[in-house]
Amino acid sequence: MTFQDVVMALEGFWAAQGCVIEQPYDVEVGAGTMHPATFLRALGPEPWRVAFVQPSRRPADGRYGENPNRLFKHYQYQVVLKPSPDDIQDRYLHSLAEVGIRLREHDVRFLEDDWEAPTLGASGLGWQVFLDGNEITQFTYFQQMGGLEVKPVSVEITYGLERITMYIQRQSSVFDVEWAPGITYGELRRQDEAEQSAYGFDRADVEALRAGFGASEAEAMRLLDAGLVLPAYDHVLKCSHLFNLLDARGAITVAERTTLMARSRQLARRCAERYVAKREELGFPLLQATANKKAGRARHA
């Protein structure tokens, strides 16, 4: 299977599970968890099912396209189901069959992993899923988001698309993975990896990034005060990405790190609180939608 075959197989599978197929978020993020379709939708009582690819930027992990396992930007396949279904592990294992992994022929293990994202005020319990010793998925039951206890609990399934495809294709370098027939991951991505690494490690203008952080933070607070949660959250994401760039550039001092992380967490918390309040004002629309659908079905029966 090519890289894009894997993506399409997962899209098909999770669409059939009743997921909304969302699109990657158009602000830089470090993980699919930061997509509003995860971070914000996991809050409050409204049910939610979503799946999407999320390109995830981690400037410090860049290696100029020279390390076979490390990337400035990698692709996650993100699935969020709320509330978490009782048979979610089985559904996940079925999805592996969709990408050609026959369980009986392998060793699939759920290995304990507690997940925490301090800058988001988020934490959860779950596992890393290993396929023949190879970590392919992060499987998490969210417990907290933006400092708020979540209820109902969402389950988040994050597939590492490169890891899975490398394994399926038995490639020891990510750049040799066949993305589409006749074209490799390297051919598509290596130039970007090299240039983005050079930018992140060598060329980024520290003062401009720092100023950007301050400006985005101020904008986020201003927008939160104005009750515009989603635009505010975009600016929180910008802060987070600018922080990661500064960090990769080695521009963050010890003392600064703690305070910048605390400021990010504070903003994430405010967004979470405002988002829940806003949804409540709107009458939790998705709660209504599900109730109506159920009522409709009952009438037909």
Partner: protein, 710 residues
Amino acid sequence: MPDLLLEIGTEELPPHDIAPALEQLAEGTRAAFAALRIDAGPVRTYGAPRRLALVCTGVASRQRPTVREVRGPAARVAFDAQGHPTQAAIGFARGQGIPVERLQTREVEGKRYAVAVVKEGGRSSAQVLPEALAAVVVRISFSKTMRWGDGDARFARPIRWIVALLGRTVLRVEVAGVRAGRTTRGHRTLGGGPRPVPGAQAYVRVLKSCGVIVDSEERRRVIVLQATTLAKQGAGMPVLDPHLLHELVMGTEHPQVLRGAFDREFLALPGPVLVTVMQHHQKYFAVEDGRRQLLPYFLAVRDGDDRHLATVRQGHEWVLRARLADARFFFQEDRRRRLEDYLPALDGLLYQAQLGTMADKTRRLATLSRHVSGLLLLDGRSTEALLRAATLSKADLVTKLVGEFPELQGVIGQIYAELDGEPPEVARAIGEHYRPTRSDDAAPKTQVGALLGLVDKVDTLVGVIGVGLVPTGSQDPYGLRRAAQGIVEIIQMLRLRIPLRALAEVAAAGYGRTWGPEGIDVLVDFVHQRLRAVLIDQGIRYDLVDAALAVSGDDLLAAADRARALSAFAVRPEFVRLYVAYDRASRILSPEAAPHVDPEKFEVPAEHRLHEAAMRVSSRVRTAIASGDYLLAMEELMPLTEPVDRIFDDVLIMAPQPAVRANRLALLRLAVDVFRLVADFSKVVTSDDQPRTANGERHARITKRVQAAR
């Protein structure tokens, strides 16, 4: 009598949670049987990643009937002059559910009361057990719990099914919205769907038929046997790390070991790096030859059977190759520079938010090392080694390899120091100074390593306690308990007479802040608590430990030696005499005592004898203590017992004349003070009132383990 089966089906539990949960399940069930008056045979538990199970053979189908006497109103209120029951009696009898004519009278503390003798017939076990068992399950505590779905229930991982059978009857147990039935689930890949269980006796067999070896001891045997056999085929022995073995036993439902290989060229990497990659990251056992050299093999444990093993092996080999290639890259990158060249980068590494950087810590360690070296009069060579080791101790924290494998801190430093040609004792000290890293790990073995470990731990304790982060309950994010335990062990191993308080004050000065004396008090007390725990763990009675600690000030070595001597002495018959003499003398002490003993005021020979004995014994005891021989010190106390006994027999201590009385009290205080040179005997608990039953001990141990699991 029917058998009981309870199986809690879950998603994959954290391996280290399983054994403590089973212990609680068994304890809780036994307690429930007792509380419900249900006779039951022995309880056995089974655990695997997806299930916690309990089997109890011979459970009575009904509760034991019981007779209770309930005291009602006073007899004169309950019955009138003719002996007929009054309204009060009728109401009371109705309340107790018996006819009024069955009320009896009993005399309690001299008064007569109406009494209802209530027979409680046994309800059926199937009726009363479900609620009790559900409560047992809900009360199981885990290191971390979570919620799932729409519910509020908390467990280590989601509960997905429950099997609860008494004989062939399903018990209506309900936990977290899951109702018990008779259907279990087998192995994820070998199982083939839900499977009914006919009864408790069939449990192990049914699970085996659907791919689950539910007895963890059997899984352990399978893993050890297969691993040993497979390693032998490669002319080696498996490195069966006990923690990894336990994790794999509790992490698989049907273990199958397979042997894979990696390129010989990776053997050029330092051994600890190879072992860490295999053991910690990939959960493989390493394989070594007869000379304990690593072989280019690994043993992976698959959860499944032996079909398609070639595919699985290939996968594991592929992953390990990538991991080792990474490690080699980091190693080669790191080795472009010497270890000391990494020192400047420590300026950018935070030690703790309020306590500065690792560079600051390194500077403090050097200062503290110099102080300790002066205190112990170390020779020039050792001092130099200690200072060099202190300077380099944290440098590996900014290397790429430690960045990738943080658990190798210290170990990598030692390897790089050796490669740089640092003196062997410097390298060893860097490698050892974090030890003990686990509660079952040993303290550093070399002198320089132990001293570096000591100053590092004292610096950590002073700093972290100084900013108010004293560990509470099971929370100890900075590992202060382990640090304190390390201090205790090092001091005993090197037999260091180091005044802890003074050392802590020097360490505090290194932080460039002023710490209140309370901070140092907290620290000294904290370390004392660890010493107490360590000594009790070594099998010394807690009361003897307390008796020793109470008189040892902040000299940890003296406290430990005293406690050990006391423990050895306490089993001798003469210990009782010593204790009795001390007890008699100390009980009568009062503030009326004169400030000094005045032999002029003695009236009888017994007083003179005790005085002389106290003076003589005091000096001999002091000599023994000065030489560190506390057992001898205790023996030296013995001649004091007879004169103490005698004075109580011969004179009235509380004499009517105040001056004589005050003098006698002062004399007894003098004797007591001599006893207290050795230990505070008032802490000793005598055999009559000492809770040393097997039960009490076991209870304490279980509680401890549960806390440790948290």
